[in-house]
């Protein structure tokens, strides 16, 4: 199965596959971020591979100069009972990744979560807004430079709000 996936992807997207690695029997393929939608569409629609089930999308902050963030796609093929992990790297200067909501509608909330936690924007997403934190929250909590205990006063408590308005 692994060889088949790599072979098929190499035939079609030879230049867009950056790296193929395996750890503990799990296959990870790093793809160029411009091509992620095409790769996903191919993987889903190919009769033999049939990765029709999107398990998860998440972000990772590697906290380094180049390619700081990564977006990880976990796929599952119902037909072959096989897992595949796709990965795209995102540089801090250009935090936009094409959205895969057109391929799987399950991607909708996962991408919103990634946006909420890392600030990675997904172009073409139908409804990209924060999912966990309040709308007016300014930071991205899962970035490595955000402190665990948060920034005091960034989300006001009920009582504090009133005091603020009373004082003007």
């Amino acid at each position: 199965m692994k060889d088949k996936i790599i072979e098929k992807l190499n035939n079609l997207f030879k230049e867009d596959i950056v790296e193929v690695s395996e750890f503990r029997g799990e296959l990870t393929i790093v793809v160029k971020k411009e091509k992620i939608v095409d790769v996903c569409k191919f993987l889903k629609e190919d009769q033999e591979l049939a990765f029709d089930y999107l398990v998860d999308i998440c972000g990772v902050d590697y906290f380094r100069e180049k390619d700081r963030f990564a977006v990880v796609y976990n796929l599952w093929s119902l037909k072959n009972k096989f897992r595949l992990r796709l990965k795209v790297f995102v540089d801090e200067s250009d935090l936009v990744v094409p959205s895969v909501t057109s391929v799987w509608s399950a991607a909708n909330w996962h991408e919103r979560e990634t946006f909420d936690m890392f600030g990675i924007k997904f172009s073409g997403h139908p409804d990209l807004r924060r999912i966990y934190m309040p709308e007016d929250f300014e930071y991205y909590p899962l970035r490595k430079d955000f402190p665990l205990q948060g920034i005091p006063g960034s989300i006001p408590l009920p009582g504090q709000e009133k005091i603020k308005t009373q004082r003007g």
Binding site: F23, R24, E26, T28, D52, Y53, L54, V55, D56, C58, V60, D61, V72, N74, L78, K81, R83, R85, W104, S105, A106, N108, W109, H110, E113, M117, D127, R129, R130, I131, Y132, M133, P134, E135, P141, L142, F146, L148
Partner: protein, 413 residues
């Protein structure tokens, strides 16, 4: 009126619905806010419904009222220290979460628990599956108007919790699993209690079935309600009983056998209808299968250690820590720095009562996870309410919401 619309728009927080509301000058459509504190939302989910009379035009679920920042917390503690946090994710089945997390960590470290520990894990997993489904059955029956079932289900659930009390020492948030095994061995008293429970449970479950299966109100409020077709279920990414009620036979216990599930004989109940009634039957059958699994496990339970002998990853026994030098050093290192896993990333998923619970761990070679992502089944399952909310009746919303069985603790993380 203008002010009111502004307020609604503000609370919805989305721009494209604004235009839709303003296109309705007579105000025939009504916005109904359900939650975050509402008995029918089972937790702190907030649903904003746009109604046209009795029918739902649009449904917007809002999450985050229980977002506790677990993933961020995980990055700041060792692998073992994070264990108690997994209890509080899907708090209807804490033992399943413990096992799921530990399996992911063990995969990263490359170790395996001994056979006896694996069997104990399976027994407790299946018992917590029963206890989780019992809460679901009770609250779902309550949602559609039957209070007695709630009382009976909780009576049975209390029996399981007292088994946990005997086996793990705690009745609810157990933190029982350890890297490479379980915290302590199961006692004869525990086995006896489990045997007694599984002998009586099918009869008690039958009583609940008698109340519901031919109850006209129950059938009418569930049959054909909240339909999800096979294609939709796969597209939304549903998992667990919800997916199997839509005719997709996906169960990780069979598809990617973990622990000792490939040595046990059990069936995966699958129903084709995809409505609330099918989801009820799937869960009911699953409870019966779980009883079967527990019974087999108790018969097959091998003797031996309950924790792997891997000094670099598993905590040594307490007696040895107090008497031996090497064990003391290992204990100190593991507690303070949390072992040395290889650099890499793993994903391991198990079949939880709610669906596929997966942990994706990125390790940089230290004892702290660099990134830990929880793939929670409830999070994806709630999406169903948004996608399939349109065109249904308002009063069916409660049943549909209940039949999906989500826990906000893991959906919000």
């Amino acid at each position: 009126m203008e002010e009111k619309i502004d307020k609604i728009v503000e609370s919805l927080g989305r721009r494209n619905i604004e235009a839709e509301i303003r296109q309705d000058p007579l105000g025939t459509e009504m916005i109904l806010n359900v939650g975050p504190q509402h008995p029918a939302t089972h937790g702190v989910l907030r649903l904003v419904l746009k109604l046209d009379g009795e029918y739902i035009v649009d449904a917007v679920p809002e999450l985050g009222y229980l977002h506790r920042g677990k993933e961020k917390i995980a990055e700041n503690m060792t692998f073992l220290e994070f264990l108690p946090h997994t209890d509080r994710m899907d708090y209807l089945a804490p033992l399943s979460n413990n096992t799921a997390y530990m399996l992911a960590v063990e995969k990263l470290f490359g170790i395996e628990a001994p056979k006896r520990a694996q069997y104990i894990r399976v027994i407790l997993n299946e018992l917590s599956r029963i206890s989780s489904h019992l809460v679901w059955l009770g609250t779902f029956a309550m949602d559609v108007g039957a209070l007695t079932v709630f009382m009976w289900c909780f009576r049975e659930r209390e029996k399981i919790l007292s088994i946990f009390d005997i086996v793990t020492g705690v009745r609810f948030t157990t933190s029982y699993a350890r890297i490479g095994g379980v915290a302590q061995d199961i006692t004869d008293e525990g086995i006896h209690a489990i045997k007694e429970f599984i002998d009586n449970f099918p009869k008690e479950l039958e009583q609940c079935e008698k109340l519901l299966n031919k109850n006209r109100i129950f059938i009418e409020r569930t049959d054909g309600i909240g339909m999800i077709t096979k294609e939709q279920a796969i597209d939304i990414g549903l998992s667990g009983p919800n997916l199997r009620a839509s005719g997709v036979p996906r169960d990780l216990r069979k598809d990617e056998p973990y622990l000792v599930y490939n040595e046990l004989d059990f069936d995966i109940p699958v129903y084709e209808e995809g409505d609330c009634l099918a989801r009820y039957y799937v869960r009911l059958d699953e409870m019966k299968e779980s009883v079967k699994i527990v019974r087999q496990c108790i018969e097959k339970l091998p003797s031996g250690p309950v924790k792997a002998d891997e000094p670099k990853a598993t905590l040594p026994k307490k007696e040895k820590v107090y008497t031996k030098m090497e064990e003391l050093i290992h204990d100190f290192i593991l507690t303070n720095f949390g072992g040395t896993p290889p650099v890499g990333e793993v994903y391991h998923a198990v079949e939880n009562p709610k669906g596929e619970l997966g942990f994706y761990i990125v390790s940089d070679g230290t004892g702290y996870p660099w990134r830990l992502k929880v793939r929670s089944p409830s999070f994806t399952n709630i999406q169903e309410l948004k996608v399939r909310g349109k065109g249904n009746r308002r009063d069916d919303m409660v049943g549909r919401r209940g039949s999906i069985d989500t826990v906000m603790g893991e959906a919000d993380k």
